[in-house]
Symmetry: C2
Subunit: 312 residues, 2 copies
Amino acid sequence: MSVAGVGEFGLIDRVTARLSYGSTVLLGPGDDAAVVAAPDARVVASTDVLVEGRHFRLDWAGAYDIGRRAAAANLADVVAMGADPTALLVALCVPAGTPTEWIEELADGIGAEAAGVGASVVGGDMSASPTLTIAVTALGDLAGRPPVTRAGARPGDLLALAGRIGYAAAGFTVLSRGFRTPRLLVEAYRRPEVPYPAGPLAARSGATAMIDVSDGLLADLGHVAKASGVAIDVNRDAFVVPPQMRDAAQALGVDPYAWLLAGGDDHALAATFPPATALPDGWRPIGRVTEGSGVTVDGAPFDGPAGWDHFR
Amino acid sequence: MSVAGVGEFGLIDRVTARLSYGSTVLLGPGDDAAVVAAPDARVVASTDVLVEGRHFRLDWAGAYDIGRRAAAANLADVVAMGADPTALLVALCVPAGTPTEWIEELADGIGAEAAGVGASVVGGDMSASPTLTIAVTALGDLAGRPPVTRAGARPGDLLALAGRIGYAAAGFTVLSRGFRTPRLLVEAYRRPEVPYPAGPLAARSGATAMIDVSDGLLADLGHVAKASGVAIDVNRDAFVVPPQMRDAAQALGVDPYAWLLAGGDDHALAATFPPATALPDGWRPIGRVTEGSGVTVDGAPFDGPAGWDHFR
């Protein structure tokens, strides 16, 4: 059965029947709007949109994994502020011939990724469209903590990273060249493993700045450097190229540091901490904040690709 | 200059420079997420998506009006819960050749509609896409009031309406037939006049159920009747066909009551109130809640078109 056969309301009923609702959901889908707990009296909110052929390809990943990725991209933005995710809203545009099963699997993926971090899908909208498009809004609660912005890094701060990096970019390159292995890399692209707990943990440990690595590590550190009015230097030695990545890089003729330093799809978190901080669980040092501007690797500009622009 | 020429970050800079931020905005665009005041410790949230060719046409309205409509559709959902809108997040997908001026005008329209109701655009995302798509999420604050859902209507309640109805549907029909006048109707379609203050006012006056009329009055009252487990009867005499609508209906061979009772694009509000309620400003009685199920007009089923399904 296609979505055109089931109709808008039938499809919404099918999707909402598959979702489950946590304690932050005071009123779930089915009314004009949802009501979500915001115990901190401030709500953190972020929106990301994924477009077929640009952010994902139907021949590279199944609906469930696309759903997980769509949710992950947004949930990562919320934890990068130091907040605990509470809710997702999803606007879904699909070609009228899309099988309802595909949408149900997508909803399952979004719901599973949200549930893993204590959040629920509380609302959304659906429309037919020639272009499959998924816009997700994530909400979160700061639990009394100040938000960790991009603007608080100070000269002398430690630079640290949480989560995998380069895996998803390597998987993307592998898929782009028509391969399906190494499986570790391809799966990392299909389903990022976001280090969610590391975000609020960093906030509790006094992180001065934090960012979700979505445009590529150096590009995103550039955002932090600019917003904070500092320079950031990354230690190349802090990055060990894992064996599968090294082998794939050799086979494909790619510098693996381009994946590590300029790849974003893993949704790792980067943060700065006061110099004497004992880094919390999941965080490892990768560099230093200094006076000045811009981002360097071992004191020099990086000569690989810098990052991603969705219009180019 | 097209968006491809300016690039994603350049375009975001241009748009955010045009926005202004009210007192509910604790952290605006430019970080991983925004932070919005939620003094009530609950946040109302709703998402709607508009797709070119399905929800709007570029030859029927300018970017500014499309922006106002996109914001209005979402803000209406928030006030229909009885909440005060606080913030919007916008995911915008545009063909790479779209002129940046078009997007700036769209942003101006969204910002103006938000500002009119005390809300601000606090974040968003942009991507290239073959299909122009605007997904808006609206947030709101309940200010200590219970949310007014679709489920609270009780037999004996008054049914009341706030705002214009049928004008936008008439304007849509006029444009569909290739005409550009009557101007009153066409402008009503291009730029709905949502009765925003009527939503929180109804909540303060004890409204038992409320809904944003977006699918058509009878269809939306059907949602209320079903959620509340009641029947709703509409008085046809409560609707006066305005002269321009009567003339257009005659010229186009349409029953104007199809526009009034089945048209949704005005984003009027419908609500039910306990029988003895003195209706607040902007509300007028249009019917009654009774025991039973379904929606009738003067006690009988309506034989015109019932509403809108975005997949059909």
